[in-house]
């Protein structure tokens, strides 16, 4: 053993003498770099069909203060490969700060007085489009008000409003194409409204009557319409995000000129499905637009109790996703941002993240009284001074495209239409009892058939114990 050691020691010392210590160190060869593909390059070779590549140079991404600050001590010569690709070394031990020195700024076009800020980037909106957008925002307001009251009167069991978020709802919908598949959370009925869902159809779902496409199976506001490419709302938070990645991938495979668009609140970004959804969309290079409505509250949980990051926009980069923060109460900014994001998603086949800053003026739902956990002054401020509908109205009016007469006509006719829709929906027949058992599977199974027979017999025997109106 000792002889072996002595021999190896001699070997090393002779090496050192002959070749110098440098021979033992591994040196980076500048002249012929070993070809190493980054994961990104590998995957782009794999996932894109070269013959029908959608890639092209996107518009320049606005430079943002880097979270990673360049070090003066970075030593270029010391750069080595790791599985993720080449990374430079530094001898300076420096931690990336937990947040940037300044917050990511918020993109907006209209100031609070409804005037376009000079030199803003934005996609122009025609009179026709602008008027339609405004009408729909006002309609959404009236709809929310009337349905909320209907719940208070006990005519429907539940409701939740989108008050304060009308710009996000309508402007984002206006920026999309009808083929884009929408996977909502639950505070985006304006998207469905824009696409042509009628007030009657909304009312039918809230009443769960025979005309409800959902067949009365879910609580109010759980709208869905395959005709309008709007996936049915489900109560669990953020579950739609990884599904949106799958939908986007399906569209990618079909080479459709369409993308998946999915919405989430600030609270929902804490769910594991947010991480799953963004990561999958990025890795799969799926055309998905993730729109986060950061409205400051998740029921009673303020965003200061939800995360410690600078909102949601900074999380995009963590997944390799291009992101933007936009003023969610500025309809023109939302329109431009969503329109651009959609184009990027489809032409570059990549996900994009939009954080739309806004405020939830209403209570979380009819089961909530938000004055219990926030100041009434705060609510009032946002309702009056930061109202997205008023802000856009000013701009539309300033252009001469809208008058007070139009306003009162619209509001009164919409109100009337809604009241009629509610009255009609209330009177509609209920669903036949057999719909309790359908659609669990594509075809009713034996155990369900047996249970249906048993239930029908029971209801016929003791009708007084059951609500009326359900055709057996």
């Amino acid at each position: 053993m000792a002889m072996w050691f002595a021999r190896s020691r001699n070997l090393v010392s002779s090496l050192r003498q002959n070749l110098g210590l440098s021979a033992i160190l591994i040196k980076r060869n500048h002249s012929s770099p070993r070809p190493v593909f980054t994961n990104y390059e590998l995957s782009s070779k794999v996932f894109l069909d070269p013959s029908t590549s959608f890639r092209h140079e996107s518009t320049a991404v606005e430079s943002q203060p880097d979270l990673v600050q360049q070090s003066d001590h970075e030593d270029d010569a010391q750069e080595l490969d790791f599985p993720g690709g080449k990374v430079g070394y530094t001898s300076e031990m420096k931690f990336i700060p937990e947040s940037s020195s300044r917050r990511i700024p918020c993109y907006r076009v209209l100031n609070e007085h409804g005037k376009i800020i000079s030199d803003s980037d934005f996609i122009p909106v025609s009179e026709k489009l602008a008027v339609r957008m405004y009408e729909q925002m006002a309609t959404l307001q009236v709809m929310d008000h009337i349905f909320y009251e209907a719940q208070r009167q006990g005519r429907i069991s539940f409701y939740l409003t989108s008050v304060g978020e009308e710009a996000i709802n309508i402007a984002s919908a206006a920026a999309l194409s009808p083929e884009d598949v929408v996977l909502p959370q639950y505070r985006e009925p304006g998207v469905l409204l824009w696409r042509g869902f009628t007030l009657e159809e909304f009312a039918n779902q809230c009443f769960g009557n025979k005309a409800d496409y959902g067949k009365g199976r879910q609580m109010p506001i759980h709208y869905g319409s395959n005709q309008h490419n709007y996936f049915t709302v489900s109560s669990p938070i953020a579950t739609q995000l990884p599904q949106a990645a799958g939908v986007g991938y399906a569209l990618k495979m079909e080479k459709k000129n369409a993308c998946a668009v999915t919405f989430i609140g600030d609270g929902g970004t804490s769910e594991g499905d947010f991480h799953a959804g963004l990561n999958f969309a990025a890795v799969m290079e799926a055309p998905v637009v993730f729109i986060c409505r950061n409205n400051g509250w998740a029921i009673s949980t303020h965003i200061s109790e939800q995360f410690r990051s600078d909102g949601i926009v900074v999380k995009g980069q963590a997944y390799g996703i291009r992101s933007i923060r936009v003023d969610g109460n500025d309809a023109l900014a939302v329109y431009s941002a969503v329109r651009s994001a959609r184009e990027m998603a489809v032409t570059e086949q990549r996900p994009v993240l939009i954080e739309a800053m806004t405020y939830r003026v209403g209570h979380h739902s009819t089961s909530d009284d938000s004055t219990k956990y926030r100041e009434a002054d705060e609510i009032q401020y946002w309702k009056m001074s930061r109202n997205p509908v008023n802000r856009f109205k000013k701009w539309v009016q300033d252009n001469g495209w809208w008058s007070e007469e139009d306003e009162s006509k619209l509001r009164s006719s919409t109100r009337k239409q809604l009241l009629q829709a509610i009255q009609a929906a209330e009177k509609w027949e209920k669903q036949p009892l057999t719909e309790l058992f359908n659609d669990v599977y594509d075809v009713k199974t034996k155990n369900l058939e047996e249970q249906e027979v048993g239930l029908k017999a029971l209801v016929e025997k003791q009708p007084q114990d059951y609500p009326t109106g359900f055709h057996i």
């Binding site: 598949v181 496409y213 199976r217 049915t232 799958g246 594991g272 499905d273 991480h275 659609d439 594509d442």
Partner: protein, 391 residues
């Protein structure tokens, strides 16, 4: 073990037996080509066929690209391309959620969860989303094209997190189907049925059998119907019900019981949700006894559902309480695995199979007690079927 398995796994030629005959499979004709395959190869074949026959089908999950940790996805990526067969990030909720999205757009998504022990992060997506997708939308949307495959069950050295049998959790979820094959030939047919079934299916594969089970598997495209149990061994004295790898154990128990003159009828349930009650009911009405066996812990296991249902339907025909020979109510242990498992000895010594009193004996006992009660003029009608009182 191999020879026993060889006897258990059905071949096209059925050996004559004095104590009950085997059911011949109707899935392959003599003229069709067959190949001797193990379970992972049979599953691999099914996946090749599924992707071949539907260009809108996809296979993905952790590590499926190179063939998968159990080699079930070998050759798929090379043959069908990385757009259709690909690795995913390590995130089960993402895998299933992504699969739901793909399926909702009309595609077939055959997703792999690496071990059934890791399926729980996807439980929300499976229960709250996949299972309810069609129902909650009023049939406007569905994710029937989703099939979730996961290896389950004891493997000899798996411990807590490579041996679980979580089927019971999923059997409690209306809207999905739960399918568990017992052998290579069954697996191929059942997997193709599951993939093509217009409902989301959770398909548990007994990992113990991936290499161990070898069977003649027809090479063509065939499907075995879901929700149809199969009597794989006929008998008259007792019905045994099981699924997956446990059937090999139960087959052994049947052979042992045969030596004692007990004729056992063995049923492979195949689909646990929705399950074929009629086949089990007909069998128990014939035999009067039921023994259910599964690896999963006995409390709250799927055996309880079968037991309750059979009691409801066959109470008057039962000669003994329903037996459940199952795993213990512990996390799946490592060094204690041989003690935990529901072995053939446990089955043989269970109350249903061991010392089965003859029917005649019970009848005499019943009559005796009836007479005594009658004489005490408290008319308590006890028939020869109320044997449980006398055990």
């Amino acid at each position: 073990m191999a020879s026993l398995l060889g006897r258990f796994c059905r071949k096209l030629v059925v050996p004559g037996s004095a104590h009950g005959s085997r059911m011949i499979s109707t899935t392959a004709c003599d003229s069709e080509a067959v190949k001797s395959l193990n379970l992972y190869s049979a599953i691999n074949q099914a996946l090749h066929i599924a992707l071949e026959t539907d260009p809108r089908s996809y296979v993905f999950g952790e590590d499926v690209g190179f063939g998968g940790v159990f080699r079930c996805t070998t050759g798929l990526a090379e043959r069908f391309g990385k757009n259709r067969v690909f690795n995913t990030p390590l995130c089960e909720q993402g895998i299933v959620g992504f699969g739901i999205g793909l399926a909702a757009m009309g595609n077939r998504a055959v997703v792999e969860i690496q071990f059934a022990d890791y399926i729980y992060p996807a439980f929300d997506q499976i229960v709250n989303e996949a299972a309810k997708f069609r129902y909650r939308s009023g049939n406007q949307f569905n994710c029937g094209g989703l099939t979730i495959r996961a290896p389950y069950g004891a493997v000899g050295h798996g411990g807590h997190y490579h041996s679980q049998s979580p089927e019971a959790f999923f059997c409690h979820v209306p809207g999905i189907k739960v399918v568990i094959p017992r052998s290579p030939r069954e697996a191929k047919g059942l997997l193709l049925s599951s993939i093509r079934d217009p409902n989301p299916v959770v398909f548990f594969e007994p990992k113990w059998l991936y290499r161990q089970a070898v069977e003649e598997v027809p090479e063509h495209d065939y499907m075995i119907p879901l929700s149809q149990a199969e009597v794989i061994r006929e008998g008259n004295d007792i019905t045994l019900v099981g699924w997956g790898a446990q059937l090999t154990v139960m087959e052994q128990a049947c052979l042992d019981a045969e030596k004692e003159g007990i004729s056992c009828e063995l049923i492979d349930l195949k689909t646990l949700l929705p399950w074929d009650k009629e086949t089990v009911e007909a069998s128990v009405k014939k035999t009067g006894r039921l023994l259910i066996s599964h690896e999963a812990p006995v409390t709250g296991g799927f055996g309880a559902e079968i037991s309750a249902t059979i009691l409801e339907r066959c109470f008057l025909k039962l000669e003994a309480p329903v037996s459940r020979v199952c795993g213990l109510d512990t996390p799946f242990p490592l060094v204690f695995e041989p003690f935990y498992m529901p072995t053939k000895n446990k089955a043989s010594s269970s109350s249903s199979l061991s010392s089965p009193l003859k029917k005649k004996h019970y009848l005499i006992m019943g009559l005796h007690v009836w007479c005594r009660y009658w004489m005490q003029s408290s008319p308590l009608l006890i028939t020869s079927h109320s044997i449980c009182f006398f055990r």
